[in-house]
């Protein structure tokens, strides 16, 4: 009987305990991306909305406060809640400067409700833009670069 109530108590608490966000210190290398275009597919497939092809659009989205993400080498996307010394990641100067860059970041990682998050304490290394997607996709969206005036 005692075991039964113990089991029941565990079951009752389970939904609440899985939502507790417990952090883990990680160092991760990946590209700073625009989460909306990546997740929504509004501009095309995920391979086309990263790197140099999508750099200008990434600037637009970052400047407007759309959350940036860190796309790790294993494909995991971390939504960035803080980016180094910059307290916020909503259109801040650091986020703009690092748009489309591949960086190594040190920080605390969390998971909640199917979304991964990272609070970056320090950008350990900035490799710049190394994902040269314009070679395959030109620019995404196609109007990102205005036609030069003659």
């Amino acid at each position: 009987m005692r075991h039964f109530f113990g089991l029941a108590a565990v079951l009752l608490l389970a939904p609440f305990s899985v939502q507790a966000a417990e952090g883990e210190r990680i160092t991760v290398t990946g590209e700073i991306i625009d989460t909306w275009c990546y997740y929504s597919g509004v501009m095309g497939g995920p391979d086309s909305v990263v790197g140099s092809a999508h750099h200008t659009c990434a600037l637009w989205c970052s400047a407007s406060g759309i959350p940036i993400g860190l796309l790790a080498e294993d494909g995991t996307v971390y939504t960035v809640l803080k980016l180094g010394a910059q307290d916020n990641a909503t259109g801040g100067d650091t986020a703009l400067r690092l748009a489309s860059h591949t960086v190594t970041a040190d920080g605390m990682a969390y998971t909640r409700d199917g979304i991964n998050y990272i609070v970056v304490e320090k950008v350990v290394e900035d490799l710049g833009i190394v994902n040269l997607t314009h070679e395959d996709y030109d620019v995404i969206p196609s109007f990102a670069i205005p036609k030069p005036k003659k």
């Binding site: 009987m1 039964f4 029941a8 079951l11 009752l12 389970a14 939904p15 939502q19 966000a21 952090g23 989460t35 909306w36 997740y39 929504s40 597919g41 509004v42 995920p46 140099s52 750099h55 200008t56 659009c57 600037l59 637009w60 989205c61 400047a63 407007s64 406060g65 759309i66 959350p67 939504t79 809640l81 803080k82 307290d87 916020n88 990641a89 909503t90 259109g91 801040g92 100067d93 703009l96 400067r97 748009a99 489309s100 860059h101 605390m108 969390y110 909640r112 409700d113 199917g114 979304i115 998050y117 609070v119 833009i129 040269l132 314009h134 030109d138 620019v139 670069i145 036609k147 030069p148």
Partner: protein
């Protein structure tokens, strides 16, 4: 009695875990996104970092923090990535006035178990208490008020001083002006 208790316990456990349908009564307009699902729900507007880490500045960070929607039905934290404007615009400006408040939101959830992605959201309209629905379309007006020197023709993202500064320094591809010049010549040849 034991069986009844167990059934009740399992029902309580299963309820929040079961996939819920929030599309009923939604009037969200399609953006023709491959994984969009209309979703209308009650939620509390929260500072995402505060919810996760316990670091909670006043007024959800006054616009410096990403905002999320803590859904009343199941306590799921939905990230508000996008507002209703087709102009590369986030949702913080629209949600910040409701920091800490209970609201009803209508919009598009992006759900794809295979990608995988879930619980990210495009907010189309917001309703607080007895007030009328408000369109989540404030970003550009707010931007114009904050950037009077950038007044002119064309969309905000062509005129934004910080974006222009980055492009003037590193080009549209971000690879430097020399690479940019060669690429632009190829692109428009």
């Amino acid at each position: 009695m034991m069986r009844a208790f167990l059934i009740a316990a399992l029902a309580l456990v299963a309820a929040p875990l079961a996939a819920q349908d929030f599309s009923e009564n939604s009037k969200a307009k399609s953006w023709n996104l491959y994984a969009e699902v209309p979703a209308l729900f009650d939620a509390k507007v929260v500072d995402a970092m505060c919810e996760i880490t316990g670091d909670c500045p006043a007024n959800c960070g006054d616009g410096d923090r990403q905002l999320a929607l803590l859904r009343g039905a199941d306590n799921v934290m939905v990230m508000a990535l996008k507002n209703n404007q087709p102009a590369f615009t986030g949702a913080v400006v629209d949600l910040l006035p409701f920091c800490g408040q209970d609201v009803t939101v209508d919009g598009l959830m992006i759900e794809d178990a295979d990608f995988p992605v879930r619980n990210v959201y495009l907010v189309q309209r917001i309703k607080s208490g007895d007030a009328d629905w408000a369109k989540a379309s404030k970003f550009t007006r707010d931007w114009a008020a904050k950037n009077p020197e950038a007044k002119g023709k064309g969309p905000w993202f062509r005129r934004d001083p910080r974006i222009k500064e980055r492009i003037e320094a590193e080009g549209y591809l971000g690879l430097g002006l020399e690479v940019d010049a060669e690429f632009i010549e190829y692109l428009f040849e």
